[in-house]
């Protein structure tokens, strides 16, 4: 994931957006026959949905012209906001019949353009499908309509001592439907996994209106595990309307320790040693000096001025927390930390997290930056950090590193000056080099944001043609006419023949 964030409230623009300066961003040309039939298509949709659930006025469809990757904009043909699985199925049957592409949309928080429309497409928004359908503590699950927001799932059960584990940073706004589409993660993946590990069942509507019930209140699939391939398919295989989610009893408590080092490599080695020692922290966050300084200026969290800083959080009973923190401290001491600050109270915990949580805002105050989202093997951290530092010198651009070190999901921020000619181009070349490095050391292009339109054309860096072909075959089966979110994930050259057919 490469996203460019510009300072002083400017739009988030992406790596591909920059490249578009040289070559226009490619999206399939809208089908003139569909554009010409807009009135008839809208009329059919209005026959099965109430008037307020079909948006077709050109000024109103603009509200759906982009997701959180705001650089790419294109108002859709129309927007539908169904309330039930039956309405979703009816909409899809009409669009299937008319040959109209459909772009499913959760809350529109995708940073990869997953919900970007084309002019001839219908946006199917699930935001009105937000009911909590069932809470079952004895079976440790909840069933929700998929438009429900991530945080509101946990909020609904927190009072009874439960939580829903995946917690992407957009959790206040993002929908479960989008979480399933992008197999969302969050800060606690090392211990609790990502969406696919916490999803028990889903109601999925195929492009032709067929309704599939996959999984349910039980723990494994009767036949092929189709749910696993729905999760992370970026809304290309079906529209998820309901989901059964695993909830967990909340831990008794959690406490972080802050560890400061004089070298990023040593900090990386310390992460590996903690994991090797059999400790499973609930989060391991990493920040380097440029990031620490920016956060310190911004949030005054009281961080030491050092090359690299780890925040390691453990949870459990009071005795278990004390024990794990003691083990972590002992490991850290072998790496000569310049400071080791164990939280002893709620307030100290809050202060330790304060800077980290304001990192992105703080960086935006001082610079334009490009944020990447690749994953690497944790053991490659020292090597990757060293290579990034070398590349930083070669490209003449500073990098600030802040990321989930425990699961290897990196978010290097490349700092640049948008007003300085040539800076942008160097920045994008640097970003691409870092992503290639992630793949080269055994990692991947995107850890938690998805491919969307943004990294579509980089897929060939990670996958051989036959690997991509195997994935495309799956779409052939679920959506033979390639009408559902068709211009995403795959390089357009690969999907072209299928979309045209």
């Amino acid at each position: 994931m490469i996203t460019l964030l510009a300072r002083r409230g400017r739009a988030v623009i992406s790596f591909d957006q920059l490249q578009r300066k040289a070559r226009l961003m490619q999206m399939p040309a809208p089908d003139p026959a569909i554009l010409a039939r807009k009135a008839e298509i809208v009329a059919r949709l209005l026959q099965i949905l109430p008037a307020d659930a079909v948006i077709h006025d050109a000024t109103e469809t603009r509200a759906y012209e982009c997701d959180a990757l705001t650089a790419y904009r294109c108002p859709p043909l129309a927007v539908v906001l169904p309330r039930t699985t039956e309405e979703v199925a009816a909409v899809l049957r009409i669009c299937h019949d008319e040959g109209v592409p459909v772009v499913p949309r959760g809350s529109g928080t995708s940073l990869a353009g997953g919900a970007l429309p084309t002019a001839d497409s219908v946006i199917l928004g699930v935001s009105r499908m937000n009911a909590l359908l069932e809470v079952d503590y004895d079976n440790r699950l909840v069933r929700v309509q998929a438009g429900r927001t991530n945080l509101s799932v946990t909020d609904a059960v927190a009072g009874d001592g439960f939580f829903y584990a995946p917690d992407p940073s957009s959790q206040l706004a993002c929908a479960i439907a989008g979480n399933i589409a992008m197999n969302s993660g969050g800060a606690h993946c090392l211990k609790y996994g990502v969406t696919t590990n916490n999803l028990l069942g889903a109601t999925v509507v195929l492009m032709d209106g067929t309704v599939l019930e996959l999984g349910g209140p039980y723990m494994d699939a009767p036949g092929l595990d189709l749910l696993s391939v729905i999760c992370g398919s970026e809304g290309q295989l079906g529209v998820v309307t309901e989901a059964t989610l695993r909830i967990l009893p909340a831990p008794e408590g959690a406490r972080p320790v802050l560890i400061a080092f004089n070298s990023s490599e040593v900090a990386g080695a310390c992460v590996s040693d903690i994991i090797r020692a059999g400790i499973l922290p609930v989060a391991i966050e990493f920040m380097d000096r440029p990031c620490i300084r920016a956060c310190e200026d911004f949030a005054k969290a009281g961080y030491p001025d050092c090359e690299a800083l780890l925040i390691v959080e453990v949870e459990g009973s009071p005795a278990a927390i004390d024990d794990q923190l003691a083990r972590i401290a002992e490991i850290a001491r072998h790496h000569d930390p310049i400071e080791l600050r164990e939280s002893r109270s709620e307030d100290e915990s809050r202060r330790i997290w304060l800077g980290r949580k304001s990192a992105f805002g703080a960086m935006g105050q001082i610079n334009d930056y490009m944020c990447l989202d690749g994953t690497i093997p944790v053991t490659a951290l020292p090597h990757v950090l060293r290579r990034i530092e070398e590349m930083s010198r070669d490209f003449g651009l500073q990098v600030a590193n802040v990321f989930h070190a425990g699961d290897g999901n990196m978010h290097p921020l490349i700092l640049f000056d948008a007003n300085k000619p040539g800076d942008l181009e160097r920045c994008e070349a640097f970003g691409a080099e870092i992503l290639r490095l992630c793949v080269e050391v055994g990692g991947c292009l995107t850890g938690e944001h998805g491919v969307g339109v943004e990294k579509r054309d980089l897929m060939t860096v990670q996958f051989a043609p036959q690997d991509l072909e195997a994935q495309a075959r799956v779409k052939d089966v679920f959506d033979p006419r390639w009408l559902l979110n068709p211009a995403k994930v795959f390089p357009l050259s690969l999907s072209q023949g299928r979309r045209a057919a």
């Binding site: 004895d138 996994g193 092929l224 992370g232």
Partner: protein, 363 residues
């Protein structure tokens, strides 16, 4: 028996196959409908990569599980899903392999907390029915680059492709394990006791019932295990006085050894845990519960159709052990609703267009 030791050889064998192939790893898990075909054994062996500091293992699909377990034990790590060993129950010999384990999505009692085999699986390489070698996923635990075909392969019993390499996220092996026993409970009370235990924050990693005893497992660092076990026992006081298990009961529960070598068919039912009491009550036979009730093992007279007895209860029943003619008659796997079955058939047709990989095993 044809054995292949490289990806290229496997691809060539599949490309040139004139008829159905019966794919197997160690041949220890003959689950599914009987398959007629030339036996093909995956002989690719060895660990490709093991990085304890990254909790990552990549190995060839034909590698014996015992070999993997020994290597991981040296670094106090393990495959957290506690894969079932089918040999005792099925009366088979041979060595369970990594690939066979993935093909069966074999998971044990810790599935409750740590997820199934498919949850730990982060990457695969396989050869499909056209003889094409395909990679998916990788070796990192956070990866949304493209569709997740790795987990689709888990539990597909060799019907979509033949696994050649698999990658896992590992977890630390617990330093200390303690098991509490609540003796003398009937099925409904046992299910209630397990649900109560699993609602506590004490991180119960196993909850089963056999021979009237509820078993609850607490594990982790020694310093906190005793404390959590004690508080769990107190929280469950209404179900009786918890005892510490003298011996480790989990391997027997995992492998269902209680039904090994005994007359009768063995069924495996997957239901919502709280439905287990009702289902168990309908079964005329012997019942063992795992996953807090979510997994029911039943030993019933030969030829019994247990599937019909689920009634309106949501879930599915697999006929794991029975005479070939019973498996052929009843079907080993639970019939799926038509739209789901159509997608599954579509995927098989795309990945195995000639229908030569374990044809008919799952449907």
């Amino acid at each position: 028996m044809m054995q292949v030791a490289t990806v290229d050889d496997l691809a060539e064998v599949i490309r040139s196959a004139q008829g159905p192939l019966r794919i197997q790893g160690g041949g220890t898990r003959p689950v599914g409908n009987p398959v007629v075909g030339s036996p093909l054994q995956v002989g690719l062996r060895g660990i490709t990569l093991y990085e304890p500091g990254a909790l990552t293992l990549v190995a060839q699909a034909g590698t014996p599980l015992a070999e993997i377990d020994a290597v991981l034990a040296d670094h106090a790590q393990h495959l957290p899903f506690e894969p079932m060993d089918h040999r005792a129950l099925m009366g088979t010999g041979g060595e369970p392999t990594l690939g066979g384990m993935v093909a069966a999505n074999a998971s044990g009692p810790r599935r409750l907390r740590a997820g199934a085999c498919r949850d730990s699986l982060i990457g695969v390489q396989f050869v499909d029915g056209t003889g094409t070698a395909i990679r998916n996923g990788g070796r990192v635990m956070k990866n949304v680059t493209g569709y997740d075909l790795a987990r689709l392969m888990a539990g597909s019993h060799g019907t979509l492709g033949v696994l050649t390499e698999v990658a896992f996220k590992l977890l630390p092996r617990p330093e200390k394990v303690t098991t509490l026993i609540l003796p003398g409970l009937d099925a409904p009370t046992a299910v209630a006791a397990m649900a109560a235990a699993l609602r506590t924050p004490f991180e119960v990693t196993g909850a089963g019932w056999a021979g009237g005893n509820v078993m609850l497992r607490i594990e982790g660092f020694a310093t906190s295990v005793a404390d959590r076990a004690e508080r769990l026992a107190a929280a469950l006081a209404r179900f009786g006085r918890a005892e510490l298990a003298a011996a480790d009961p989990w391997p027997a529960l995992r492998d269902v050894t209680g039904f090994a070598g005994r007359e009768g068919d063995v069924w495996r039912l997957s239901v919502a845990p709280t439905d287990a009491a009702q289902v168990a009550g309908r079964i005329e036979g012997e019942v063992i519960l795992d996953w807090g009730g979510g997994l029911i093992w039943a030993l019933v007279p030969p030829g019994t159709d247990l599937r019909g007895q689920l009634g309106s209860i949501r879930g599915h029943a697999t006929l794991v052990r029975a005479a070939p003619e019973t498996r052929a008659a009843l079907g080993a796997f639970h019939p799926e609703p038509q739209p789901v079955a159509a997608i599954a058939a579509g995927l098989r047709a795309r990945f195995d267009p000639r229908g030569i990989l374990n044809p008919g095993l799952m449907a």
